[in-house]
């Protein structure tokens, strides 16, 4: 309250009058000071208040009738076991189970108690989701789709698409239907659609619909190949979620029947990827060590002495386990953050390297140069475990193979070595990869080297430097040099001044980090979505390994370069030649030879892949691969055959809000999905994906599971098996039962019991048989009995330790300590790729490239003058603006030239980088409609919704540098529009007059945030997107809520979403047929594509945006948002706040 002089005098007079009156009336007693003494002097409240009965209310609150544990298994990397307490049949609260110290393995090893406690606020509010109003309560079918089915599935001509609302799914009604009817409709549609697109007639139809021939050819005539099944991050429920791929295998029966083919030619559908399509994978990892992903148990972080978070926020996004890196502070470790913004992780750092987005490759190349120039490296490690000593040909840029120079060379016999015996290398693969060559300094001659000759098994002392001429078997003299020597040439482009210009990182900080990496051990680098969500993540991932390869920071406690996003790790249940099929025995059991013996050992389960993996990115790109008409070569297909998609006619997903999470989502809804003939969503709640689906099948929540489910994690060693503790509230089913029901109905309709046989033990209520088979055949669980685990033999019932070589699990421990090859063709960590695709794209070296969109410079330019980078630009003009042309155009320029080029979008005013990281209050889109989480999630949380423009009890916000916002005339709290390239976003063919454009254009609240650089804005990803129904709702409901009528869907934005700004990018380096690497869930190798392993990674950060004011933020759309007028908000600080921030409110004794 402000006190004016006049007010003070008035009050004084008033008080004086009062006092005088009191004095006159009742004498001096009233003025005695003791009257102002406290009524009670209480030194120790606990002594004074002997009655502590008030505490009983809290004890009463905590009373419960029973409790149970379950596993919170969203798409994080934690899988925390949670204990819920039940009172009167209702879960009243949940808390950490504090049980990890009891988890044991077969050998008596126990987990450290330091893992406790494990849980985050999402687990705490799970019961609000369980009991909340957004659950799917019964199966539903889209009205128009049902009519289409009832009309006999007529061909979906443009007229019929409109008639049955395939082009307006979001405006149609969802009708309640019984499970039996739902399964019947689904089964009938599967038969119909597979028949329609099978054989030559099917191919003709697809050709008429405009699909490229390559996609049609990949179907091999099977209509079932148009079925796309996706178990949302299947590890989150190995049987219920991954089980959808088992159902997909069953589609081979359908194909067999339709085409009349036998098991040798029958084909199931395509299994859609998860990890890669989420942009979770570090796509560069297979390029460095051949493994899908390098990660470690999180308690390994405590051994690091230098932790570098590069585009990774361990504070917000690893909540149950972030304490392990915090511990490092106490242990004397140094913490460094590399990120454009000063975020939560930076607050914990010893120093923060600000960096221009997507230039981390240049940073690490600069650091590598400093280390190489200063000889700050470990030559023994470099020679023993990296490809730096391998010779590279300067003529064709391929590695020198032994067969190139040694006449009649026969590959050395390594059949008894680890490549074959442990890693599952096949003779055919051995022939393809051959042997390599180093320059033997002892003999000064080239010497062949096999992939088994790593570590101490490398008997020669290879040269790292020098240039040599060799004569090839065909008579040519070719200059070769060790890769190390070549890198010295390559790194001439990355001197400190240049790197500073590229990255905008202060020079002294780059030098400091280089010095720290060179002198501190162990060094752990952690990259996250802040790296992996950029188009050139591959290069940034690869580059992070260079300083570690030089210093031997691999395969040791606290060391390595790891990546953290998504609980992807099917390899936790990997099979092997010596254990059996593992995970594959469940998802890929040969449907034509199912093992129906309940007592059979898992090793006796036959495995055969009738399905093929596929990246959803192709559907997400318009249901097409990457094919570009190039000036130089004409039509060129960049998508490798191992990646080639097929047309999408059925999309069936569970445990994923597929459309909400699809980049370029409104393009999917508007232009792509009308081509899809059946969309099925299995979920626990109403989502945008359900609103735009043909079927919604309600699943039980983790707390309601009626049978067992299995999960594990990529960041801890815990095997978790559980079932629910409360009865299902609605007519919902366990995921695995949903799948079995569809299979059973197909069997009934087709009178084919093989469908039922494949789900025999599920249908009989004995799913545990499949679980035991997996446990006894996985390399990490062999020896465990399900019954023992559930009986609590290894600690908490349902929990046990995975059988890892080390606790904590350390990536590449075997490689470094036991001289086992890495999973690359040459068995070494790889700084150079000689794949033909990599050479063609100019990425044989690890090199900095500007993004194809998110850059002020020429899109996708390669920053180099290295003569051994020889990319093909396909004759594409620098002026080309099409996204696919920018994707494949490979132009090499030194920085001095590159920095003078322009991005046409930047020139048009699209000059904000826009990043969409994960929020701490949701797990991607999960919890996006949970009221408490929404309130926490933004500065605009308000359960009272006093500003009824708020779509729910919270709303989405855009973080922006205050000065940047002010320069655009935008106040803190205003609503703003955010627009990306108008050529394709929010969807192709948009017009301002199109009502759908209004739905699709992103509008959200502005929040000033000085932590963000001027040209860098942020909005958290995966809010529940605006839909046609939610927009209609908030525009017509008296309370303004974006709550869809008829479906009850709660959107988080009034209009659009972050997906209005994103699009899919078909990264060529993610689509090779030649990359040699480890299979993701089996001890074996493959060349080329494998979903979730080497496949297109989604890169939503690859966008540039423009921000414009939409509405005032104040109540009634007038004036400034009230909190921004208090003097306590960024860029509007009053004198008091400024004093507070400057520490002026604290007076320190002895200081003036």
């Amino acid at each position: 309250m402000k006190v004016t002089r006049r007010g003070f005098i008035k009050a004084g007079v008033g008080a004086g009058v009062g006092a005088a009156a009191a004095a006159g009336l009742i004498g001096q007693q009233a003025l005695r000071l003791r009257a102002l003494e406290p009524a009670l002097e209480v030194a120790n409240p606990l002594e004074y208040y002997p009655d502590r009965s008030w505490e009983e209310v809290y004890q009463d609150q905590y009373q419960y009738d029973s409790s149970f544990t379950w596993v919170c298994s969203p798409n994080d990397t934690h899988s925390c076991r949670v204990r819920s307490f039940v009172r009167n049949g209702v879960v009243i609260r949940s808390e950490q189970n504090y049980d990890v110290h009891r988890y044991a393995d077969l050998y008596g090893n126990k987990a450290t108690t330091a893992w406790n406690p494990r849980m985050c606020p999402k687990g705490y509010t799970m019961h609000r989701r369980l009991y909340g109003p957004y659950r799917l309560k019964y199966p539903m079918i889209r009205q128009g789709w049902k009519q289409w089915a009832d009309d006999g599935f007529p061909e979906l001509t443009p007229e019929n698409k409109t008639k049955y609302k395939f082009d307006a799914r979001g405006q149609d009604e969802l009708l309640k239907v019984s499970w039996d009817d739902a399964n019947t409709y689904i089964a009938r549609a599967m038969v119909n659609i597979a028949t329609r697109y099978s054989g030559d007639e099917g191919a003709r139809r697809l050709k008429d619909q405009g699909y490229p021939q390559e996609m049609i050819d990949d179907m091999k005539g099977a209509g079932t190949r148009t079925f796309k099944f996706r178990g949302g991050m299947g590890l989150l429920g190995v049987f219920g979620k991954y089980g959808i791929y088992r159902l997909n295998s069953c589609m081979a029966f359908l194909d067999s029947r339709i085409r009349g083919v036998g098991p040798d030619k029958a084909l199931g559908g395509r299994n859609w990827a998860n990890y890669t399509w989420h942009g979770d994978q570090a796509p560069g990892h297979p390029w460095v060590h051949g493994l899908q992903t390098s990660d470690c148990d999180f308690n390994d972080l405590r051994f690091s002495k230098l932790i570098i978070m590069d585009g990774k926020n361990l504070v917000e996004n690893k909540m149950p386990e972030s304490h392990f890196f915090i511990e490092c502070m106490e242990r004397g470790a140094k913490i460094v953050v590399i990120a454009p913004e000063y975020g939560p992780a930076s607050t914990k750092a010893d120093y923060w390297l600000p960096i221009r987005p997507q230039t981390d490759t240049a940073l690490f190349l600069g650091i590598t140069r400093i280390m190489m120039d200063g000889k700050l490296y470990d030559p023994d490690f470099v020679k023993q475990f990296t490809d730096f000593p391998l010779l590279v040909r300067t003529d064709n840029l391929r590695r020198l193979r032994a067969a190139d120079i040694f006449p009649n060379y026969q590959n050395a016999d390594i059949s008894q070595g680890p490549s074959f015996k442990i890693q599952g290398l096949t003779p055919e693969q051995r022939e393809i990869i051959g042997d390599f060559v180093v320059w033997d300094t002892a003999t000064n001659t080239p010497r062949a080297i096999t992939r088994d000759e790593v570590g101490r098994k490398m008997v020669r002392d290879p040269a790292l430097e020098g240039r040599y001429n060799v004569r090839t078997v065909d008579g040519k003299t070719v200059e070769v040099m060790p890769l190390f020597e070549m890198y010295k040439i390559h790194l001439k482009d990355y001197d400190l001044d240049t790197v500073t210009q590229i990255t905008r990182t202060p020079k002294e900080l780059i030098e400091r980090l280089a010095h720290d990496i060179a002198t501190i051990k162990p060094v752990g680098i952690h990259q996250g979505e802040g790296i992996n969500h950029w188009f050139h993540a591959t290069e940034m991932n690869r580059a992070s390994y260079l300083p570690l390869m030089l210093t031997g920071n691999i395969g040791k406690p606290g060391a390595g370069s790891h990546t953290w996003a998504g609980n992807y790790k099917a390899a936790n249940f990997q099979g092997s030649a010596w254990t059996g099929p593992g995970f594959a025995g469940w998802v890929k059991e040969d449907p034509f030879n199912p093992n129906l013996d309940p007592d059979a050992h898992g090793r006796d389960v036959k495995v055969k892949a009738y399905c093929k993996g596929e990246e959803p990115a192709y559907w997400n790109h318009g249901d097409i691969p990457l094919i570009v008409d190039t000036p130089k070569y004409g039509r060129k297909v960049f998508t490798g055959e191992t990646h080639m998609p097929t047309p999408s006619k059925i999309i069936f997903f569970n445990n994923v809000n597929l459309l909400n999470n699809a980049k370029w989502a409104y393009e999917m809804l508007k232009n792509v999905n009308p081509k899809v003939e059946m969309i099925i969503s299995v979920d626990i709640q109403m989502t945008a994906s359900v609103e735009y689906a043909d079927f919604a099948l309600p699943a039980n929540t983790w707390m309601e599971f009626e049978g067992l489910e299995v999960t594990s994690s990529c960041s801890n060693p815990f095997l978790q098996i559980w079932k629910g503790g409360v009865k299902p509230l609605y007519d919902s089913r366990d995921d695995i039962v949903v799948l079995a029901g569809i299979a059973a109905k197909l069997g009934e309709i087709l009178e084919d019991n093989r469908f039922l046989d494949m789900w025999k033990f599920v249908l009989e209520g004995r799913r545990e048989i499949y679980m035991q088979r997996m446990l006894e055949t996985s390399t990490t669980t062999i020896g465990y009995k399900l019954d023992d685990i559930m009986a609590g033999k290894y600690g908490e019932p349902g929990a046990a330790l995975m059988l890892y070589r080390t606790y904590p699990r350390i990536a590449f421990w075997e490689q470094v300590h036991e001289d086992i090859p890495f999973y690359t063709d040459h068995g070494r960590l790889q700084a150079y790729s000689d794949l033909p695709e990599a050479i063609e794209y100019g990425e044989n070296f690890i090199v900095h490239r500007e993004g194809p969109e998110a850059t002020p410079y020429l899109p996708n330019v390669i920053v180099s003058s290295n003569p051994y980078i020889r990319p093909d630009d396909y004759g594409i003009s620098w002026e080309a603006t099409h996204w696919d042309e920018r994707t494949v155009r490979n132009v090499k320029l030194p920085w001095d030239e590159a920095k003078n080029t322009k991005n046409f979008l930047w020139e048009k005013g699209y000059n904000f980088y826009c990043v969409t990281p994960k929020t701490r209050h949701r797990v991607h889109s999960q919890w996006s409609d949970t009221d408490w989480n929404l309130i926490w999630d933004s500065n605009f949380g308000d359960p009272y919704r006093m500003d009824k423009r708020s779509p729910g009890v919270g709303e989405h916000q855009l973080h922006m540098n205050p000065q940047a916002a002010k320069d655009l005339g935008i106040n803190d709290g205003d609503y703003v529009y955010v627009d990306a390239n108008p050529a394709d976003r929010p969807y192709l063919g948009w017009k301002p007059s199109d009502p759908f454009y209004k739905v699709a254009r992103c509008m959200l609240r502005m929040k000033y945030n000085p932590a963000y650089p001027y040209s860098f804005i942020m909005m958290k990803h995966a809010p529940f997107i605006a839909t046609e129904r939610s927009v209609k709702a908030h525009e017509t409901r008296p309370d303004g809520r974006a709550l869809s009528e008829g479906t009850g869907y709660q959107a988080n934005l009034r209009y659009g979403s972050q997906q209005s700004l994103t699009r899919n990018w078909h990264m060529p380096m993610h689509q090779t047929d030649t990359l040699f690497h480890k299979k993701k869930a089996y001890m074996g190798f493959l060349f080329g594509g494998e979903s979730d392993n080497h496949a297109i990674n989604t890169v939503p950060k690859e966008t540039l945006v423009k921000v414009t004011k939409a509405e005032d933020g104040g109540m009634g759309a007038t004036g400034i948002w009230a909190p921004a007028t208090t003097g306590s908000t960024p860029a509007a600080e009053d004198e008091f706040t400024l004093r507070y921030m400057a520490g002026g409110l604290i007076r320190v004794e002895g200081e003036s």
Partner: protein, 347 residues
Amino acid sequence: MSSDEVSTKLNRRQTLGKVGAFLGGLALLQFVRPKTAQAQTGVTLVSRRVARVPMDPGAGEWATAQALEIPMSSQVVVKPRIYEAGVNRISVRSLYDDEKCGFLLEWDDAGEQIGIGRVGSYRDAVALEFPADSSKPTPYFGMGQPGNQVVIYQWKSDWEFGPDYDVDDEFKNMVSDYYPGSGKAPGELAEGSDYGKGGAAIKSFNPGLWTGNPLSNSELKALTPVEKLTASGFGSLTSASRQDGLGKATRHNGGWRLALTIPRKQDDFDFSPGKAFPIAFAAWDGANEERGAEKAVSTWYFVSLEESAGSSVFLWPAGAIAVVAAVEWLLLRRIGKKAPPGPPSQQ
């Protein structure tokens, strides 16, 4: 009778009437006048006896009681202080009956504040205070003092209008996913006002209700908008275990008009006629964000209940009047005998 006679008689009558009236009045005042202990002008509120104290603040009886204007000052003695309290004066009238003492309090307050639900919104309120034990020296007017308690009756606008108030009415757009104890089935949208409707079990999840905090007690609020409290100095305010105050307020001429009744029989004394009792007032202007110690206060005033007249009160004046009448009659007779005949009257 001539006109002169008539005129003379009239003049005599008028004179005697005036005298008689004067004497009668004297007699009446002698026997009927209220007994005030200390009849200081302007600090004593005279409570008038009625058969039954009306609870309707618009009842006509209130107008028969004299109003006392109470100047109010901002509370600046203890923190948190306020320097420009919203209420400057309260007009008070008082009536009493056999059981109750009633007060009609009227004060200007343009910004009506029910004051429920919104963070940062505060109720309008008014309170009267008196020493708990009349045998002790009068305590400090600011919430009493250690060892010398005061009794306070506070009327709260939100208590009076709370039962009719629904938080969903105040916040028409509010949303909550789930109130465990709302009585709503899982999946049904609960409204904020459903909270507490789920039966006895919910009591455990409302610590205020469980511990007997009257602010959480919707049943009490439904009975009365007046809370009785005691205090023995600043920071010692305690809700009374027995609540016996009643009140009813209306909006009137841009302010509040409140009828507030309290039992004449208090724990340690009775409000009995013929004595003056210290009484003080406080008021909170919610629109001015006043709450707690931020309020307007008065110092001690007094309330004095008019003493009951009794039958003798009326007999003595009657006797006096009879005596006066007899004296007058005798005087008139004597005047009539001695007076000479006057001139004829001039028409």
